[in-house]
Amino acid sequence: MPIITYREALNAALREEMSRDDRVFIMGEEVAVYNGAYKVSKGLLEEFGEMRVVDTPIAELGFAGIGVGAAMVGLRPIIEFMTWNFALLAIDQVVNSAAKMLYMSGGQYNIPIVFRGPNGAALQLGAQHSQAFESWLAHIPGIKVVTPGTPYDAKGLLKSAVRDDNPVVILEGEMLYNTKGEVPDEEYLIPLGVAELKREGGDATIVTSGKMALVAMQAADKLAAEGIKIDVVDLRTIRPMDVEAIARSVQKTNRAVVLEEGWELCGIGAQVVDFIQRECFDDLDAPVVRVHQADVPMPYAKNLEKHAKPDVAKTIAAINKVLYRETV
């Protein structure tokens, strides 16, 4: 099977969906002439022309709203945000327009739109460019929130998102764009709202998604060397959340760690823990432990940034805690 990058997988998904359906277009800052700030849209302008690959001014609120309007009357926009940090300027269109239109019109206007772009911290980008918005967005009924962690998932989930008749938010990872993985040449789709058991082991469960799935797999590798076998449940979609997949794993392992990139308070982990304590109360052999970013704006200094981020070491420490495992 061919091995390609996460960026190439997204690019392939865009190309395939734009070829399949001429209502699909991509719009955003630097998506056309520049080939994409992160080159996700590379080559698309040449292939599909300027009506379908549209460079915008730096005006997130404006072009997000243009996407909503175009979707309202039958087009299928893919709106690229250079980062989700900038999408805060457009959040009104995501939350008040896209997510509400179907409901407040009594079912008359669905909004088939994809809002996508990198989310979360990269390396030393400082406080304003390093935020993970999963919990903000997942809070809102009326949208789906997708967090692909691998090239295979990125392609299959993006293709499903484009075909979905609802607004879909895709949170990509800046640090994931260069990661590689197996992606078949033949077409495939990954259904939204279905988690994947990325690794199977009976001792404890890590529930995670997106970029943190990679961290979870690395932690599981290290633990395996010590004879500890981990279930890694990659949610892949945060809303709707595949809670059955969480239950299946926790009822087997009886111990769980929830690993997320964002902050603790009202984070995704809080929701997952709430589910586990309600549905798996009698199965638990230890309190669920959460791993997340430190409750501070992201610092610039390399050592402080590393200290703030969830990582492999913190994840292993959490696993040891739920296993009541003494370590030196």
Binding site: G62, V68, G69, V73, Y103, G106, D165
Partner: protein, 335 residues
Amino acid sequence: MATKKKSDARPGDAALHRELLRSMLLQRRFEEKTAEAYALGKIGGFCHLYIGQEAVSTGTLSMLRPDDYVITTYRDHGQALARGMSPRALMAELFGRIDGCSRGKGGSMHLFDRNLNFLGGHGIVGSHVPVAAGVGFAIKYRGGDQVIICYMGDSVVNIGAFHEALNMAALWKLPCLFVVENNGYGMGTSVERAAAISDLSRRGAAYEGMDAVTVDGMDVFEVREATRAAVERARKHSTPTLMEIRTYRFMGHSMSDAVHSTYRTKAELDEYIKRDPIEQLKHRMLEAGELDAAAWDALDTTIRAEVQDAWDFADNSPEPPLEALYEDVLVDTVS
């Protein structure tokens, strides 16, 4: 400002004039009844009346085609009726009933009608202006010759979404009519206290390729003529127009705001009431012999009956079933 008077008051237009009068009077009588229903607690939430501004909705929408698109703000009853929404569906929506145009889920601020290409009343000031530009983008994308008309209050010209949308509409030549209904006040803040410009249409000068006009919004014919020109430009050349239509609301900002409050005087209100757009058209038609007292009475009686029928219909329409709570959050389909 356009200068022609009675610009399309030609002989033989009596039927058109009667239709314009009917459209405006329907809005007026409907909203008088709306205020009554609100006082009785049959309508809840925020409710913003359009009384005084009817020449804007009727004047503009009488120049559009059925396949054109309409989008507006939370002050949306007038445009919905002028676009042809059934008074029954509208009143049922205000009453929060299942037969409402948005199945009781939208309310006064969120009127939608897909059959009329009526893309909603929107509740966040400025938010729908980029959405309108997006509809214009879709029209151009498909190579159609429709237009989108986007209504907004005068306060919208001060919010960022307005600039972002108008910039891209001009840059990309989108067939949009941006209609600023300048009724003098954004809630209780006068235009003079909110905008660092007195002629709001001059904002259009910031966008090359965008026409900008100022129109007397108390004269339905002036509104029609300005709209005719803007629609023609949009259809033929796919260019946007910024229309500042000067009007006045005779009621408070919303039902919780007194008719004349701390921010405006009764004397000012009375001056505008003298220019009531419905009275102006009525008198013009009386003078032209297109209308007599008996015909006026008959029209008024018919419309009052139609509005009463809408009330009765809304009153008898069931509340949405509780299972509707969880419907219309997402659709189950893919394409």
